[in-house]
């Protein structure tokens, strides 16, 4: 049980290696570049391969090639670079190839800035690329959780043959925290990849990996298969952490970096006698609709806080279905909301002040 003090981006890299991912194709962009550098240093030490691609598009397509050859593989980027990866992610989804893709989000749109933001929520949770597909999205809020969810990310990717996204932001990527890797449960399931294109020697006829079905009926069948898989993921892979769920009168919903800031605000509000709780979605897709829907039956209010102009709030509203008033508080452009300002919102709402 040794805790090591590490930077968030490096924790992602180390966690991937501990999840038996020995292949990484990357391209530098702030605030995730330390991950690329970490992999460049560490992977050769453990017999793996690091390659700096000429672009995010190339990197994700190298991932496509490596995944088609049956190995665990990762790439990472930050918002503008993540946009470039969308083409490849759609192809990975279509060809049903497992891979883990990290987005350490920053302010946008466009070149934006390099401060932390959560404004890629729509892009990561609603498919993002072309076609009917989803990618599981895991959103850690501490470095210890990064280590756990990276392990989970590779399990989900392999089990369902799907690309998985780990969504962080510049704050998680840049901060330092002690991490106990020994406490992380390793994936011990074996995922045989008979489908991989590795050459046919000894294993029957030629195999093909493609996302193409020129015939409409066949493509519809592929889509049905994908949708059935997404339903299974919705049924089995929802992750959400709730605080004070038994007693709270009302709830704040927040994820990732904001989830931890809100947690501090909730604690402070409770010290002042406010009976508020926290719902922190950990899987953003599949979204914890049922949990939120359940709490909205008894909750007098739901406040959503995000580092965006309001994106996850749409999913919360869908889950609440009008059963409770939903309000939103957000900062964007890379501004991190403080505990104080969130506490102020909580106090206002608790006092019956209608926000928005």
């Amino acid at each position: 049980m040794v805790k090591v003090l590490m930077k968030g981006n490096e924790v992602i890299g180390e966690a991937a290696i501990q999840a038996d991912c020995y292949y990484f194709f990357g391209y530098p962009i702030t605030p995730q570049s330390e991950l690329v550098a970490y992999m460049a240093k560490r992977l050769p030490e453990v017999g793996g391969v690091f390659l700096q691609a000429e672009s995010e598009i190339s990197a994700i397509n190298m991932v496509y090639g490596a995944a088609s050859a049956g190995v665990r593989v990762m790439t990472s980027s930050s918002s503008p670079g993540f946009s470039l990866k969308q083409e490849g992610i759609s192809y990975l989804a279509g060809a049903e190839l497992p891979a883990v893709i990290v987005n350490v989000g920053r302010g946008g749109p466009g070149l934006g800035n390099i401060q932390p933001a959560q404004s890629d929520y729509f892009q990561v949770t609603k498919g993002g690329g072309h076609g009917d597909y989803y990618t599981p999205v895991l959103a850690p809020s501490s470095l210890q959780e990064i280590a756990e969810l990276t392990q989970e990310g590779f399990r989900i990717a392999d089990q369902y043959r799907t690309p998985v996204i780990i969504l962080g932001d510049g704050m998680l990527g840049q901060m330092m925290e002690p991490v106990d890797f020994d406490a992380v449960e390793k994936v011990d399931q074996v995922f045989a990849k008979e489908w991989a294109t590795t050459g046919t020697k000894g294993d029957g006829g030629p195999k093909t990996i493609t996302s193409l079905d020129l015939n409409d009926v066949l493509l519809e069948e592929r889509n049905h298969r994908l949708q059935a898989k997404y339903q299974e993921i919705r049924d089995k892979e929802v992750k959400v952490i709730c605080h004070y769920e038994e007693e709270a009168d009302w709830f704040v919903v927040a994820y990732g970096t904001v989830g931890r800031i809100v947690q501090s605000a909730v604690e402070k509000a409770r010290e002042e006698g406010v009976n508020v709780g926290l719902i922190r979605p950990v899987s953003l897709w599949p979204f914890p609709h049922e949990t939120i829907s359940g709490f909205s039956e008894t909750s007098s209010h739901i406040l959503v806080v995000e580092m965006s102009a309001g994106q996850m709030v749409e999913d919360v509203r869908l889950a609440v279905e009008g059963k409770a008033p939903v309000s939103f508080y957000g900062r964007n452009g890379g501004v991190i909301p403080s505990v104080g300002e969130i506490l102020e919102q909580i106090m206002k709402i608790d006092a019956g002040v209608t926000v928005r």
Partner: protein, 250 residues
Amino acid sequence: MKTVFEKTSGLTEKETHYCPGCTHGIIHRITAEVLEELNVLEQTIGVASVGCSVLSYDYFNCDMTQAAHGRAPAVATGIRRVLPEDRIIFTYQGDGDLASIGMGEIVHSAARSENITVIFVNNAIYGMTGGQMAPTTLTGQKTVTSPEGRNTAMQGLPIRVAEMLSTLDGATYIERVSVHDVAHIMKTKKALKRAFETQKAGLGFTMIEILSTCPTNWGIDPEESLSFIKEEMIPYYPLGVFQDRRKEKG
């Protein structure tokens, strides 16, 4: 009875979808024959690109992965970097795929001297999407997006990919060949064999650019198409070896 000709085991039984007179089929066959003759079919992974050859994964009798438009060299790089050295990896790409959308991927794969073989089919036009101008379309050549003929003042000059990539130190073997007659088909087969042997020896990036027909979109019959290669394309795209660092690297 003596067998004088047999279908290569490098191709599947599937009938190809190529238009009459299209030389994609010939290029498939000689590529497959080379893979069979080198006895590497069981350790080969081909990467199909986007274009008329998109379905080549149905025709080659080896493992195949289908890449996004232009990205085949990146996909091939991913495969190369994770599989054992004995694997043979090739991409099969059209000129729109490789020289337009995929220009970045091909340049950098060559620069890294990625140990792959690129089969680059140059028919001076986009076939699959219905005959639009390609980066390789000849000056004055009519296509649906250059209806008055390619105007270099407006649309720039056609790109000579073999020459361009040859300037990169990573390029090990680069040759331009043609399939407009039997003699040239045999030469093309030899070039392909040389490229795959170079890869087998681990010597790095090889590309064979093959001048090919598109009777359908050129709007001329198959025979005239062969003359078009000879009389119009070869003068601008000269045949020959543009880079050969096999000795140096071997």
